[in-house]
Symmetry: C2
Subunit: 473 residues, 2 copies
């Protein structure tokens, strides 16, 4: 795609649409001594990448976004939609410069409909703020990525984010009923209806979810909600053998139990994170990995019965003493450790994170494959993730790898890891998306015929290719 550069006339037009205070440029930021804040619009949480936007726009609503996009469509200016910038695949990076369109001001919970167990929200609402708002009226929005304290719901929709509860409750995708979307031409549509079922035409809703801001800009969402589960139980289970931990995951499900969390953590993952958080945790030397298992429901007696069944399954494995967290502080602490693994790895070392996913029972094979590939290419990895979903986050640690190996040489072992995923019935991203950094690997997961269909769909929505160009494929 050939794009045009911003013109002074367009800047004036943008000012007329969103107001001058919501049109940010490098020059203005420098004058106002906010250059750092401005630069952040060119970054996300993906490694150490930065691309400078020509202009950052902060519209207030769908109508303003529509006017902006219409202009950009007409003038062939790239538009990169941006949520909170917590993405891990570079999806929000303005690699072709142009406009960064921030959704930060679309941050209202418009309605919580208790009669219908639904809520209508804007994309700039922080995930956890939304969870808390619905919980206050006894309702439950399950998707809870590790970054829930800062990530936006719009970003969650862009990648169909998961989180620990996805194993029982599904990912973001499973809670969306209807989306208001500004198309790349500037038209505003609703994709569906506010109903639990819908067999009325093609599923534009699910096409938008996971399309990483390349097909449209989501400006309102109708989510379905659940009754809030009144009780939960949390167990931390230490294993002496890593592969046994991975095997036990599948065994729990086969026993008829669907935990609301089933997280796997290698020794280093839990050790680094608890150290990072300065939480003291006994970690006997022979412990190789942990499972963090949560059960939830409306009835505590029933949960204890289920917990006994889980204990029954775990008896067949070489586990140390199980920690049963039975108060809120202890539970919070364990979840904080789990959620901060990413941060602690980042604190300890430069790293690359791969978001591998396979059918649940193939996890032991994937894990030993990753270690074998690492040994062969001389890198260490810290692995953890949503084991109940077969979703393993592989953090490749830079350690003393040289620049050549880090920047170029790793492509081969990463390719081998992804090929292993696909061979096991899996794919290369479970919840982080393809964005920029996994784009080079998408051919491992999807043949040309699939990619051609996707490119065709992209052209239908975005004939000038202005929206988040250079991502996914």
């Amino acid at each position: 795609m050939d794009f045009n550069s911003l013109t002074p006339e367009l800047l004036v037009a943008f000012e007329a649409i969103v107001g001058p205070q919501h049109v940010l440029t490098a020059q203005r930021a420098e004058a106002a001594a906010t250059a750092d804040t401005y630069a952040d619009y060119g970054r996300d949480h993906t490694e150490d990448l930065h691309f400078a936007p020509d202009v950052v726009l902060r519209p207030a609503n769908a109508e303003e976004i529509s006017q902006i996009v219409r202009l950009c469509h007409q003038h062939h200016i790239p538009v990169t939609p941006r949520g909170a910038g917590t993405g891990l695949s570079g999806g929000a990076l303005p690699i072709h410069h142009g406009v960064v369109l921030s959704t930060e001001r679309l941050n209202q919970i418009i309605q919580i409909d208790e009669r219908n167990l639904q809520a209508t929200v804007e994309p700039g609402v922080v995930n956890e703020a939304f969870q808390q708002a619905v919980q206050a009226v006894g309702l439950f929005y399950p998707p809870d990525p590790a970054s829930k304290g800062s990530c936006f719901l719009g970003g969650n929709l862009a990648h169909s984010s998961g989180g620990p509860k996805a194993v029982k409750y599904g990912t973001t995708r499973d809670y969306v009923l209807n989306l208001q979307v500004v198309l790349p031409t500037g038209d505003i549509i609703w994709t569906a209806a506010n109903t639990l079922k819908n067999s009325t035409g093609y599923n534009l809703t699910q096409l938008m979810v996971g399309s990483e801001g390349t097909l449209g800009i989501i400006t309102k969402v109708v989510f379905r909600l659940l009754p809030y589960p009144k009780h939960n139980i949390l167990m931390l289970v230490p294993f002496r053998q890593v592969t046994q931990a991975a095997e036990a995951v599948s065994a729990v499900f086969r026993a008829g139990i669907i935990p609301s969390g089933m997280e796997f953590m290698e020794r280093e993952a839990i050790a680094w994170s608890s150290e990072y958080l300065k939480i003291s945790l006994t970690l006997p030397e022979d412990i190789a990995a942990h499972l963090l298992i949560e059960l939830d429901g409306q009835d505590l007696d029933e949960l204890y019965k289920e917990a006994e069944q889980v204990y029954g399954v775990l008896e067949h494995y070489d586990v140390d003493e199980i920690l049963l967290a039975d108060n809120a502080t202890q539970k919070d602490e364990l979840w904080r450790i789990r959620r901060n693994i990413g941060n602690s790895v980042r604190y300890n070392s430069v790293y690359k994170e791969e978001d591998t996913v396979v059918p649940r029972a193939e996890l032991p094979t994937l894990l030993s494959g990753v270690k074998e590939i690492g040994a062969r290419y001389g890198f260490k990895s810290v692995c953890y993730g949503h084991a109940g979903d077969g979703n393993l986050h592989v953090n490749i640690i830079r350690g003393d790898l040289d620049d050549e190996m880090w920047n170029v040489g790793l492509r081969q072992p990463i390719t081998e890891i992804f090929e292993l995923c696909v061979k096991l019935g899996g794919t290369i991203s479970g919840e982080h998306g393809i964005g920029l950094v996994q784009k080079g690997y998408i051919g491992i997961a999807l043949p040309d015929t699939n990619l051609e269909l996707m490119r065709g769909i992209k052209r239908v929505f975005d004939p000038h290719g202005i929206l988040n160009p250079g991502k996914i494929f």
Copy 2:
């Protein structure tokens, strides 16, 4: 679209692909005295419609389908894929004649993967046969349309069929991980991976589900499964006021209970069906409607606790004695009554069925709206359906309406019913699809911009428009 006619050369080519015994024509059927069977390939369960195919092909696998479709693509011959023909919107009717492609021979359950709680099946497997096969190994495939004893899984995918259990477990859509599809050009793809999560490119899987055979022919499906719920409880609740029955639906959910079934039946619905089945059922004169409420789970004590909570909710309404079905025979009988309402209505009268859906709490408003519109236009309707999903099947009874009113005059009141659905946040089909008979109404639910996107997607997949032409839009 301009289509070409079948030629003798193409018939020969089809014979070479599938074998002569799987190439059926009217002429051959007449010669073999199987004209009735042949004519059935031009019908489904939608009203009294018939369109004659030029030829019926019964391929055995994806490769044969690919060869057939490639030829049809090349020669611009319409192809109408067909499952069991139980559809209620005319989706499988060959309105442009050409090829009817029956999936009846793709009827294998290829694998039930107990380790991963997944199964790989062909589209011509009967829904109930699949349910029973997975139940035999303790697993659960929830979607259960009323026609489950005869409908194919492929047809269920075409419309994202639901059924009573959708209220707790979702529709067909929610169980699909991966699809093997023959595209309208003859290419064979898998849409995704066999994983519970996937953020790798656009969601082609969910685009195929519900596309009513217009984007590709599904030849294999990977479904996720659940542990089979060990216990259930069924309650039949008689209400003296119809709108109270509809209101109670929402109240049960607000109390934090998610039933595995929550069916609404007007007095006539249950009366006609029990009479049709010759099941004697006490039906006091003042009873206007029933709710059939099912609870399921792994623990019977827990279910009885939930049942008490449901009773607590129902106390606030004017209900007669609740029948608690506590043995398999009684439960089966109640479910048979529910499932045979459609058949009994068909037995009693010519009718049209509308598959309205609204947010659950709007059901009372929809129901009184339907009755008011019926009163105004002089028709009677029998209403029933999946109240927990807000999905109301409105059966308009012919009674003594004249031909003019039946064939033309009803369009206006049906339009008004659909407009009411949309006004209430709903849409015109919850699970039956648009197919042929609702095509004229789709503009009520979806504006032109949405339809243009859908047409654009259709062109990407099917540049010659050969696959199930004339459906949806």
